[in-house]
Amino acid sequence: MSQELYTNLAIFVLSLLVGFEVMSKIPSTLQTPMMSGANAIHGVVVVGAFVIAAEASSWYFYVLAFLAAFFAAVNVAGGYTVTDRMLGMFNRPKKQPDSADKGGDK
């Protein structure tokens, strides 16, 4: 096994363990935002779209690079936006119900 492969494999396995550890017991309230937040993180695949666009040199490869860039951009931009919208709702100043104020900011 090459040094490079070994390093990558070690990073992969250790990251899996970190993922298991960091995720234990989520309150059900936060499960939907958490799924959406994790979904946004795998949008990091956009980095790969840059890499292949830089290597593309024929129409076939340009089409693939375009597709990858489009798909990944939707994933990352949409993912973070929708997660932030959801979480923003938990952050509003908590008005007591007897106040007449309707604090809808969006």
Binding site: V18, G48, V51, A73, G79
Partner: protein, 472 residues
């Protein structure tokens, strides 16, 4: 290592640290939003760094720049617009769509690299195995998530879909994936095994998701989310970029845990859900064939409900999917405020899988400024029902079904809200149709229960008007 390469590696490492801390912060409602922003900051760093790297490398052509930025720009616009415009009710299918394209991007990168590197040369296993896994997993999540999106949004029927021979086709797809895999690893210079692997994976994803009922979709979306994480990690092996490996593995593991917790909340095993065929889907108005409709039900009017509420001390609101579908969260919050202002104790009993995804109901209610401390989770709510005068069940069905406590039916063992223990129960529902599980609910014919057949939004407006009359 050149200086640029060193800086890049450190930036990617820092970006990965942002994801891990970000996810960690998202476990608590207080820090969740900042956690997501931190993870977004990490993402921005990674994107700026790769941009600097490809500029410095200077290999990219003008057309390369054009397609890259065209794709990014259209993608960002589309993603942000959809994410901003979506109503909170429709969030689950949007998350599933974003997951599909993430898997699609990972698979596309695999296809690119395999074709670019492999055809005409011989390859090491260190390349061919990750690229194969990237294409297969990416392909499965792409088609599977698109079907899940369709089922959640109603474009694809929510009920389990199966046809004669579907198991056989699925078996053939698995066989084709294995054959293509061995072929790709054994003779990595050929183009066709990659195409075969891709199509077999797309078919497998399709046939894996179709037989699964709409109620189980959230678990499937979460599982496919974890799959996409793995596909992205393998894409990281292929292009030798560690930030993809770390972030992908993180999502793969975190998504797996989340999937298990969601399945646990529904008292189903993940294997059982994937096997499919559970439930009847979202039966809009029609009664499931063969199900007995109880005849001894009491109907009630908005005026009666208003009076009951106005003279109660403790009211428990039990919101369900019907409330989300009718977008009646504003009305329910208005009614609750009206009662609270009159000194009546109002709480919400929230089942972990009420709405369309675990936690989705909390999001909908938080959106209309329902105080966080009024939202009671399963165990706390169940300890309160005995002292509840009126339980107002709005568009919820399976999560209140006492049959879950008995053996031998589709929802046996599912944790439920013990609504039947409260002194009186009012159910607002469009019809006597069954819920996702396709099981009749004996709660509806119990003595203390009265039914009000109405759309959640319209019914609540009428109840608000009636309640006002009794409170004055």
């Amino acid at each position: 290592m050149s200086i640029l390469k060193t800086i890049a590696s450190l930036i990617y490492l820092l970006s990965a640290v942002c994801y891990v801390i970000g996810v960690h912060m998202m476990r608590s409602p207080k820090t969740a939003r900042n956690g997501n922003l931190l993870s977004g900051l990490g993402m921005a760093m990674a994107v700026v760094m790769i941009l600097v790297e490809i500029i410095a490398k200077g290999q990219i052509t003008l057309i390369g720049w054009t397609v890259l930025f065209a794709g990014l720009l259209i993608g960002i616009l589309y993603g942000v617009i959809r994410a901003r415009k979506v109503s909170m009710t429709d969030v689950p299918q949007l998350v599933s769509l974003f997951n599909a394209v993430g898997g699609g991007a990972a698979a596309t990168i695999g296809i690119f690299d395999y074709t670019h590197e492999a055809v005409g040369t011989s390859l090491s296993l260190a390349f061919s195995i990750p690229v194969l896994l990237d294409i297969i997993i990416g392909g499965i999540t792409f088609s599977g998530s698109l079907i899940a999106t369709g089922k959640l949004s109603g474009h694809v029927p929510g009920k389990p879909i199966s046809f004669p021979g579907d198991k056989l086709i699925n078996g053939l797809a698995v066989l084709a994936i294995i054959v293509a895999g061995v072929w790709m690893i054994g003779f990595p210079s050929a183009y066709w095994p990659m195409v075969l692997a891709l199509f077999a994976s797309l078919i497998f994803g399709l046939l894996m998701t179709l037989p699964i009922g709409g109620a189980d979709m959230p678990v499937v979306v979460s599982l496919l989310n974890a799959f996409t994480g793995l596909a992205v990690a393998f894409a990281g092996f292929v292009i030798d970029n560690q930030v993809l490996i770390i972030a992908g593995a993180l999502v793969g593991a975190a998504g797996t845990i989340l999937t298990l917790q969601m399945a646990e909340a529904m008292n189903r095993s993940v294997a059982n859900i994937i096997a499919g065929g559970f439930g009847s889907g979202d039966s809009n108005g029609s009664t499931g064939a063969g199900a007995e409709v109880p005849t001894n039900i009491k109907k009630t009017t908005p005026d009666d409900v208003g009076m009951q509420l106005a003279y109660a001390h403790n009211v428990m609101i039990v919101p369900g999917y019907g409330l989300a579908a009718a977008q009646a969260q504003h009305e329910v919050a208005e009614l609750a405020k009206l009662l609270t202002d009159a000194g009546i104790n109002v709480n919400y009993a929230i089942h972990p899988v009420a709405g369309r995804m675990p936690g989705h109901m909390n999001v909908l209610l938080a959106d209309v400024n329902v105080p966080y401390d009024q939202m009671k989770q399963l165990d706390e709510a169940n300890s309160m029902f005995e002292n509840t005068d009126v339980s107002l069940v709005i568009g919820a069905n399976d999560v209140t079904n006492p049959l879950a406590r008995e053996k031998g039916n589709a929802i046996s063992g599912m944790p439920i809200l013990d609504v039947d223990k409260s002194k009186s129960v009012v159910v607002i529902k469009r019809s006597m149709s069954t819920g996702y599980a396709g099981v009749q609910n004996p709660l509806f014919s119990e003595d203390q229960t009265s039914m009000m057949f109405s759309d959640a939004k319209k019914g609540l407006q009428e109840i608000i008007a009636a309640t006002k009359g009794y409170l004055d």
